[in-house]
């Protein structure tokens, strides 16, 4: 029982911290407004929909409660107890927070100087437009009550067999929603999988026609990150080499296209397509060049050396020494864009199509490599390098290959990025790029192509949707990664093997790989 209570309290703590976090960067306001709009709720305050806020808190509490109820599903007393503990913890933390914020605001301290989202109207909004005590108490009781409601509801619907029709319906819906069952269904019907892909592809191809200029640009950024993510996925996810200097190859791609198509600093102005090929080859070559000395290192050492390499490239392109050739801190301007049959493709929509084409190629290549001998060699290498050698796998060769392929993808991303902006400079090639790409892999799910795409949408797309996040982007990354590690360490849509590794329940058997069954006959 003590373990259960501890677990519930801990889960409550996580929820509480996350909710405070949401309040800190103003996401509660956005979500409340959406909810209020959706359910046509009345608002008391002018800054945000306070009815929506209550609903948001109630829903979060419901979720927390149903999680707490899972600790012991059989006994209704335990369910209530766990729900209550979870509710008490969340309620006290959040109420304390609102009380604190309200008091500080009441004492005429301008919190806005420190926390941009906590101006006076926002504080009023968090207190539902009431007094400090009333607002804090309301928050507390909403969390406590709806935790209990959530816990009881999940007990009745999932555990008690008296639920009858309602329970059956609920389980059906739950089954349908849960991502894993979709995956399982796809696996069972290969046809439906292809239909799904077809619809997705058609949707993707039509999308740029309906999006405006801004969204085509934003989606293009997401797409470039998908390409880079797919590249790093090969290096980290498939071959198991932790590369933290990935931005270096992105920079090499961007600068190659810049230098070879822009009038300055080097007066060469070739057309886009041959330069695209040159850039990709050059990035791949750089990957091999970096790979030869460093790939004898393993694990952490490799990570540190590649990190250094990324920084060296950035420092070089910014340096005064290289400035006559690379443009120095000013970067390279007037980078040429692609054209086809005399028609310029330098607009957001055309770039998005080019990026989508790039993604498709990258997916096909990844898929092909993963299922070939190369993929098997990478898998063996990732599992155990020495044993892989004993199986007849030339590990150095396959490592270089992973590095070069990954670098080529990054170079491609760099070309698209620089050509689209018609500019590239040192500020585009900071360590943050490497971190972004690695984070999207972790969030989406290492080793999985759909995971990469979801990760890119979450990390590059969501900030566009919710501009409020922008100033707190680093904070959000950190929090998101920590939360992911706690609730879903394998990522949103992981490769089947990774899911299995991280969840003991699935450890016993995994379905044999389709590609292998075919050969086995």
């Amino acid at each position: 029982m003590r373990d259960q209570l501890k677990a519930s309290a801990r889960s409550g703590l996580i929820f509480g911290v996350v909710i405070i976090f949401l309040m800190l960067f103003g996401l509660t306001k956005t979500l409340s407004d959406i909810l209020g709009e959706l359910f046509n709720l009345q608002s008391i305050t002018r800054t945000g929909n306070s009815g929506g806020l209550m609903l948001l808190f109630a829903l979060l509490a419901w979720w927390a409660g149903s999680r707490a109820a899972k600790e012991d599903k059989e006994n209704w007393k335990a369910v209530l107890r766990n729900g209550a503990v979870s509710g008490l913890v969340i309620g006290s933390i959040t109420a304390l927070f609102t009380f604190l914020v309200g008091s500080l605001d009441g004492a005429d301290i301008e919190m806005r100087t420190y926390l941009a989202q906590l101006d006076r109207p926002s504080v009023q909004f968090l207190l539902y437009g009431r007094s400090i005590i009333a607002g804090a108490l309301m928050t507390f009781f909403i969390f406590l009550i709806f935790n209990l409601v959530g816990a009881l509801a999940s007990y009745i619907l999932e555990t008690r067999h008296a639920g009858g029709y309602l329970q059956k319906k609920y389980l059906q819906i739950k089954d349908r929603i849960s991502g894993t069952s979709i995956v399982v269904r796809y696996k069972e019907h290969p046809q439906s999988k292809w239909i799904g892909y077809g619809i997705l592809l058609a949707g993707t191809l039509l999308m740029p026609q309906f999006l405006g200029k801004y969204w085509n640009y934003a989606m293009g950024t997401v797409g470039i990150y998908v390409i880079m993510g797919l590249g790093l996925n090969i290096v980290v996810g498939l071959a198991g080499l932790l590369d933290l200097g990935y931005v270096a190859f992105f920079a090499i791609g961007a600068y190659t296209v810049g230098l070879l198509t822009a009038p300055a600093p080097i007066p060469i102005q070739w057309s886009f397509w041959p330069v695209l090929v040159i850039s990709i080859l050059l990035a791949a070559f750089a990957g091999i060049l970096l790979g030869i000395p460093v790939l004898r290192m393993r694990g952490d050492y490799l990570a540190i050396v590649t990190l250094g390499f990324g920084e060296i490239i950035r420092v070089l392109i910014r340096s005064d020494m290289m400035s006559p050739y690379l443009g120095g801190p000013q970067g390279v301007r007037d980078i040429g864009g692609p054209s086809l049959f005399g028609i310029s493709l330098s607009n957001e929509r055309a770039y998005l199509y080019l990026i989508i084409l790039g993604i498709l190629l990258a997916i096909l290549l990844t898929n092909f490599l993963q299922k070939s001998r190369v993929g098997r060699a990478w898998m063996a290498m990732r599992e155990d390098e020495t044993v892989a050698q004993a199986m007849g796998i030339n590990t150095l060769y396959y490592k270089l290959m992973a590095f070069a392929t990954g670098a080529a993808f990054a170079g491609f991303g760099g070309v698209l990025f620089a050509a689209r902006n018609q500019y590239t400079g040192p500020a585009d090639h900071t360590l943050m790029v490497s971190i972004n790409v690695l984070s999207l892999l972790i969030v989406g799910g290492m080793g999985s192509i759909p995971g990469v795409m979801i990760g890119a949408f979450v990390l590059k797309g969501l900030p566009e949707v919710l501009r409020e996040l922008d100033i707190y982007r680093l904070l959000v990354f950190g929090a998101l990664l920590v939360i992911m590690m706690i609730i879903r360490p394998e990522g949103i849509w992981p490769a089947p093997r990774r899911r299995m590794e991280l969840h003991e329940s699935g450890l016993e058997e995994i379905p044999p790989d389709e590609s292998l069954i075919g050969e086995e006959g």
Binding site: R376, T386, M391, G392, E501, L516, G521
Partner: protein, 237 residues
């Protein structure tokens, strides 16, 4: 001509002189064992032969061809496979995937099913557990898998590093029965073992290693009778 010939190899770990002039031969279709205590250089000898480390001086020949500097991954293609110490299976892959990796060096996939059938005959337990994750197998099953995986590469010479390590006595016996069976079907075996008793009971010949040097070489039968071996390794006073 011996199948494997090791001539006076000296191997170093940094400044540590681990092998001080090891020479040994393995004839075709033999089971030869290297016995000795901890740190005698048994595993180092095996690692040197399999190309994971290279000797500072001395030579290794396989079927008359010099393989002293050949990297480990190329030896598989020449017909030497290693069953690593501590079993060295791919713990997170399934049994089937492990075996599939074993056949990585085989250019011709058409043999794959026959080879698979053959190792499943040798180890029926693996057939039952083919889609199980290898890390969840018992110690004995993991040793079976490591051996089976090595066989998938169709070796002419199999190097085995301490197959009895960490196994219950009854399992040790069955592992060694299988080793004899594999040998009978035409695979030469060089076996490194701390468990001298069981190793000498299946081997044709043996070498006794002490601190990087070979102190005794003889037939397995004679070694078992040898007073020093009995005292030091067989626990017979």
């Amino acid at each position: 001509m011996a199948m494997l010939e090791v001539k006076d190899i000296h191997t170093y770990y940094g400044n540590i002189h681990a092998l001080k002039g090891i020479s040994l031969t393995v004839e075709e279709n033999e089971i030869v064992t290297l016995i000795g205590g901890n740190g005698a250089g048994k595993t180092t000898t095996l690692r040197t032969i399999s190309g994971l480390i290279h000797p500072r001086s001395g030579e290794v020949f396989f079927e008359g061809e010099k393989i002293t500097e050949t990297p480990a991954h190329e030896l598989v293609y020449k017909g030497i496979t290693m069953v690593p110490e501590g079993r060295g299976i791919f713990a997170r892959l399934t049994v089937f995937e492990n075996l599939d990796m074993g056949a990585y060096s085989q250019p011709d996939r058409s043999n794959f099913n026959d080879d698979l059938e053959r190792v499943f005959q040798l180890f029926p337990r693996l057939k039952e557990r083919r889609s199980q994750v290898a890390g969840t197998l018992s110690g004995g099953e993991q040793q079976m898998l490591a051996t089976a995986r090595a066989l998938m590469a169709r070796p002419r010479l199999m190097l085995m590093d301490e197959p009895s390590m960490g196994l219950a006595p009854i399992l040790v016996e069955s592992v060694f029965e299988t080793i004899v069976e594999i040998n009978k079907s035409g695979t030469t075996i060089l076996l490194v073992e701390q468990n001298a008793m069981v190793a000498l009971s299946v081997a044709d010949r043996g070498y006794v290693l002490q601190t990087g040097e070979i102190v005794l070489r003889d037939t397995a039968e004679n070694l078992r009778q040898n007073e020093m071996v009995q005292k030091a390794y067989l626990g017979i006073e």
